[in-house]
Amino acid sequence: MTALLFGIIHTWLVVGFAPLITGVVRLTKARLQGRRGATVLQPYRDLWRLLKKESVVADSASWMFRLAPYGIFVAVWLAATTMPTFTTYMILTPAADLIALVALLATARFFTALAGLDVGTAFGGLGASREMFVASIAEPAMLTVTFSLSLVAHTTSPAAIANFVLGGHVGLQVSFGLALGALVMVAIAENGRIPIDNPATHLELTMVHEAMVLEYSGRHLALLEAAGMTRLLLYMSVIVCLFFPWGLAGPESGPGGLLIGLFAWLGKVLVMAVGLGLFESLIAKMRVFRVADFLGGALLLALLATIFLYVAEAV
């Protein structure tokens, strides 16, 4: 019963905080660029404004175009509900593991690409093609990270991996460090952040994600934006849960433990949001053809993590 309650709280927590995190990233970037920037609450207002607006759909659009935003949002939201944030004691946590997470996110990406292709504009097609190109390397890298983690912890469930890390069996493991590096690179690519894609523009020839959703407006666009924000928070939560789970509450923790878990998670995620803003300000966007090298690097790190695991076992 409590698991159900925590599950419901968590479900709304993730969606509720996602715009705030995006707001923090934007504010950090604005401050570093010498602008005052909008408040961290601006993404909420943007979403509210979009929800109230009329949705304009192109004449050439099929039912796919209307359906896609809902499919994308549901897939990302579902993925987010299975990922422990403040407690591992949730009803949906045992239902899905990291591989299911990758699959859900891939489903969302598939719908995004279809929606980009559906209207038949040049930008949509270009964006869809590039998104698939990025995904074709990012996904194996993500899966390899999953495999190397599960080789250590003997499970693919994020909650169990978090408990394993909390149990102090890990120490200063090289493989964990390498897997963390790979996961961060994948997260950057999957969320369309600089240096892979620029999230702050609609007017660039090299845009990827924005190119696919260029035709959307009104509530459809609001759903897509919310899905994007939730995905960012989800990836941060994955990193926090797998690599820095300290403070995470378990089934036996009382209200104090839960509060600690909540604030620990929020604090870690906020630090990551500021860090992301800092990173994006320091680095320049890559040429599209270098993306393969970047993600190849992620895949390589994940592979090395696995290789080192075998070494540690053989020695």
């Binding site: 200063l172 090289v174 090298d293 190849g296 690097g297 390589l300 090395l304 070494v311 053989a314």
Partner: protein
């Protein structure tokens, strides 16, 4: 004295950092970035040597660490940067093989060195074995860099990275005489000076540092 597990984990971590820098060398596309990465690798190497000095309680290894830090972490990169500026080189790295295939070959080499080192050193302690496997990988990556880069300066960085692998192997092995380490360190410095002279000579002759010209060169025809 730290516990064995912690000594092992930290040595492993620092060694892996040196190896990562080896991969970063292959990944970089600008000559200045290559030199900077090399400097980081040398600093990681210095940390590895210092840690080994602490764990093995061998004070002379602190000297090795200091040499690595000062010469390879600071002086050689500065000298190389000066050379690059002086020679007015292209800032991009010219590769004989693309970055992606090079990285894949690099992973293959790491696997190869692990497969080679682990059975051979069956009697040694786990820390030494791991360290040797890592050092061997760094060495092979340095060789790979020398093979796949066309420009003389990047090839020299590859050579220096290879030598970092040697030092990493030397500091991990107990009882390596200090004289050997010192002489390696200084021979590298001498090599650096010789390379510097060679750069100027090569450029004087061919107006370029691309070694492809050397392949067809058959001496001065009278």
């Amino acid at each position: 004295m730290p516990t064995t597990q912690m000594a092992y984990d930290t040595a492993h971590l620092i060694g892996a950092t040196v190896l990562m820098m080896g991969f970063a060398l292959l990944y970089q596309r600008r000559v200045t970035a290559v030199i900077r990465t090399y400097s980081f690798q040398a600093m990681a190497l210095a940390a590895a040597a210092a840690w080994q000095a602490y764990v093995q309680e061998a004070p002379h290894l602190y000297v090795t660490a200091l040499i690595a830090l000062v010469f390879k972490g600071v002086i050689v990169p500065l000298a190389l940067t000066w050379l690059v500026k002086r020679l007015g080189m292209h800032r991009t790295v010219e590769t004989a093989l693309g970055i992606g295939p090079t990285m894949i070959a690099g992973v293959g080499l790491v696997a190869l060195s692990i497969v080679l080192v682990l059975p051979v050193t069956a009697g040694a302690t786990s820390m030494t074995r791991e360290n040797l496997a890592l050092a061997m990988s760094v060495l092979l990556l340095g060789l790979l860099m020398m093979i796949t880069r066309r420009n003389a300066v990047t090839q020299v960085v590859g050579f220096m990275a290879l030598e970092n692998g040697l030092i990493l192997a030397a500091v991990g092995a107990r009882g390596m005489p200090f004289v050997v380490e010192i002489s390696i360190a200084f021979s590298v410095l001498v090599a650096m000076i010789l390379f510097g002279i060679f750069f100027f000579r090569i450029r004087e002759r061919f107006d370029s540092l691309d070694l492809a010209y050397l392949e067809t060169f058959r001496g001065e025809r009278q």
